[in-house]
């Protein structure tokens, strides 16, 4: 029987021919439970390979050991779409010589496909694989559902290593990534901690302010003119966004509206909406909870999609371009509707675009939900610390104190005013918040470039500076 199984990660690294200065890549489907990135980087460090570029679709708190590999010069450069604060804080202190390049979930595969950011060796964690590398995220003890972010790595990397903790007999059916792309397969004891990979059940917020905003958000959608037969929708897994989908579901059922598809990171709430008949299909680039994993495994209406198919600006078309409504969050939003999801109020890196700017650009209605102030920090500012998503792509901001519509979208404003919603000027929201909190002093930023935010079209959107 043919097999690509090699004895260890070390052997795979050697066979793949990894050398100083090359690029390795990882996906983040195992989220905060991932063991693979750390294990592989430790092994690479042990082998004495240096000055690597790490292209990871996202970096979570569990990836903190990567900071050690930056300091010992195993890693010289990072490309990612999201960086949790546990990693971002030190990056913001300026521990790297070269700025981190932040892309979007669509921009990353687009740049990989075009060769702008080539990958030498892709290390792909797979919850199940056969000996020739047909693999999937839907089965196995570490099941994570969709493997959407790993497709570009598998298709375009020079060498592809599958790392799995469940070896199935050939051929594995219902594969995600197929053997045609795979060079080596490594079996390890565990690719991740199931508790960190998916949450049990994602719960909607109980916070009263969150619920008020969610209800308003659902009303905005209802009166946007988009909520009709064939409606398509994406929402994040944040508490208020999930609550908004619950209210939206009630409206859709009451008014007997059958949507077309739900998109994105999928939670049990979207699965519920599928079952209730609010949507005919779910397109899933990433599963957030066990309900979503079970659904993608069992329900043919719930389809895995690659990050390219999801959101690539370089593809001939991508699903985000057919999206009606997306609900998104914000750490800050300015009076021109630019949104920051990269840095916190003190300027430290604590996130990233993920699919934020892709969906905002593609969707007919991009909605931000945020309270007017969080722990005394007003949400609306004159100018965001970092532009993650440009204001031209953001249509409306929903807060507990009113709804501000981007003046570019006059038609939406008219519709919402006619519907009797509490439409306010975004400057008024800023004033209202600052009346409560006082005017915050801007954080003192350093002069060193620690992050570059790359726009979907490849241009430089903003630069993140070190924190002093």
């Amino acid at each position: 029987m043919r097999s690509k199984v090699v004895s260890s990660i070390r052997e795979a690294v050697e066979l793949a021919g990894l050398k100083d200065g090359m690029t390795v890549s990882f996906h983040h489907h195992l989220r905060n439970g991932d063991y693979v990135l750390n294990t592989v980087m430790d092994q690479i460090a042990d082998m004495g390979i240096k000055e690597l570029t790490v292209n990871a679709s996202s970096l979570f708190a569990c990836h903190k050991p990567l900071l050690g590999h930056i300091k010992n010069r195993v890693v010289a450069k990072i490309l990612t779409n999201y960086m949790a604060e546990e990693v971002g804080r030190e990056i913001s202190c300026g521990i790297m010589d070269r700025a981190v390049e932040f892309r979007t979930h669509g921009g990353r595969p687009s740049d990989i496909a075009s060769g702008r950011t080539p990958i030498d060796v892709a290390f792909i964690a797979a919850p199940i694989s056969d000996p020739l590398g047909n693999c999937s995220g839907k089965y196995g003890k570490s099941a994570c559902g969709s493997l959407g972010y790993a497709f570009a790595d598998a298709m375009y990397a020079d060498k592809v290593v599958i790392i799995t903790d469940e070896l199935a007999s050939y051929p594995l059916m219902d594969w995600s990534i197929e053997e045609t792309c795979v060079d080596y397969v490594v079996k390890v004891d565990a690719i991740g901690d199931p508790a960190g990979i998916v949450s049990g059940t994602t719960r909607i917020t109980r916070d009263p302010v969150g619920l008020v905003m969610a209800e308003q958000a659902a009303l905005v959608i209802r009166h946007s003119g988009l909520l009709k037969e064939g409606f398509s929708f994406q929402t994040g897994a944040g508490g208020a966004s999930l609550a908004a989908s619950k209210f939206l579901k009630e409206i859709m059922l009451k008014e007997n509206i059958r949507g077309s598809f739900g998109l994105g990171g999928i939670t049990g709430y979207l699965v519920d909406m599928l079952h209730a008949g609010c949507f005919e299909k779910l397109l899933d680039v990433q599963c957030f909870d066990l309900d979503a994993v079970e659904s993608i495994r069992k329900d043919p209406r719930h389809q895995e999609i690659s990050a390219e198919h999801y959101a690539s600006p370089g593809a001939k078309s991508a699903v985000v371009d057919s999206l009606d409504v997306v609900i998104l969050g914000a750490a800050e939003i300015d009076t021109d509707f630019n949104v920051n999801v990269h840095t916190d109020s003190n300027g430290y890196i604590m996130g990233g675009s993920g699919g934020h700017s892709d969906t905002a650009a593609g969707a007919k209605l991009a909605m931000i939900i945020a309270p007017i102030q969080r722990a005394r920090m007003p949400i609306v500012t004159d100018r965001v610390t970092c532009i993650s998503t440009p204001g031209r792509d953001v249509d409306v901001l929903v807060t507990q104190a009113g709804i501000a519509v981007n003046p570019e979208n006059a038609e939406l404003k008219d519709r919402l005013v006619d519907a009797g919603l509490n439409i306010v000027n975004i400057h008024d929201l800023k004033r209202k918040a600052e009346h409560l909190t006082g005017t915050p002093k801007k954080p003192m930023m350093g002069s060193r470039e620690v992050g570059k935010v790359i726009c979907r079209d490849g241009s430089l959107l903003d630069t993140i500076y070190s924190v002093r």
Partner: protein
């Protein structure tokens, strides 16, 4: 207009500072059941500060003080009175004498603090068997008493019966309270529905209260407010009828007709006054013609 009244724990800053954004016509800053005995002092200072500094325009403010059989209530009054809540809620109001005691201290405090005599009203929380039986006396005890509120949790304990979602056990209390309040010419509000997850049960409960004549309903969760506001707002049918009544009256006046009839029914003074109320409320809500 108080269709909905939301209880907010008096020692919870995150909620207090958002009180006017939760969708309630009035918020009730609770210094009683929601605050443990060793936090009473801190809560009344916090409530006083939020009343003083926050902008609650558009939302009514009520402070539920501790009951007059505790050692806390006078300090509660002293702390908040200056910052002009619309109403002071007096828990466990059982008889006219309870109102007299509160009335006397409010007057004394107003005098001492140099604020307008009689400026603050009382909303009597009726939550004992005695309170139900004496509701009319309580409602008429003082010009300060502006409204009654039913508290069914404590009441059913006092009645030695189980509190159910269907609420058969409080039918009498509800009817009695509405009658007492109407006889005294003041407002009356219904007890909260306590199952936060049961939206449908909540709506039915509000509809029962509205059908009995309540002006509004209290809530312990903001989740209930939208349904309460909707149930206690004039329906389109009610509003259409109110305008028809007013049209008929106007036409009758123009034609010099004495007796006015609409849809074969005589229109008398109570019907006209009800129509006027409905229209006034609709206009306040921005849904009038």
């Amino acid at each position: 207009m108080r269709r909905s009244l939301l209880f907010i724990p008096g020692n919870a800053p995150a909620l207090l500072i958002n009180g006017n954004y939760l969708g309630a016509d009035s918020i009730i800053f609770d210094l009683e059941d929601a605050v443990s005995p060793d936090e009473k002092d801190a809560a009344r200072i916090l409530v006083r500060n939020t009343l003083r500094h926050m902008d609650y325009r558009g939302t009514g403010t009520i402070v539920r003080i501790n009951s007059i059989d505790t050692g806390y209530w006078k300090a509660d009054v002293d702390e908040v009175l200056k910052h002009a809540p619309d109403l002071i809620m007096l828990p466990k109001a059982g008889c006219k004498e309870d109102i007299d005691v509160a009335e006397a201290y409010l007057s004394e405090a107003e005098e001492r603090l140099g604020i307008e005599q009689g400026g603050v009203g009382i909303i009597a929380l009726i939550e004992t068997a005695q309170g139900i039986e004496r509701a009319y006396d309580i409602a008429g005890a003082s010009a300060r008493v502006k409204a009654l509120l039913l508290g069914a949790e404590d009441l059913t304990a006092d009645l030695k019966c189980a509190r159910t979602k269907e609420g058969r056990e409080i039918e009498y209390a509800r009817a009695r309270l509405v009658t007492a309040a109407r006889a005294a010419g003041i407002d009356v509000y219904d007890t909260p529905f306590t199952d936060v997850e049961d939206d449908e049960g909540m709506r039915l409960d509000a509809m029962v209260a509205k059908a009995l004549g309540f002006d509004g309903k209290s809530a312990i969760s903001p989740r209930h407010l939208a349904a309460i506001n909707e149930v206690f707002s004039p329906s389109l049918t009610e509003l259409d009828y109110a305008y028809e009544v007013m049209d008929a009256i106007r036409k009758a006046a123009e034609q010099g007709t004495g007796v006015v009839a609409l849809r074969g029914k005589m229109i008398d003074a109570p019907i006209v006054s009800r129509a006027k109320q409905t229209i006034a409320m609709a206009e306040e809500l921005g849904i009038g013609r």
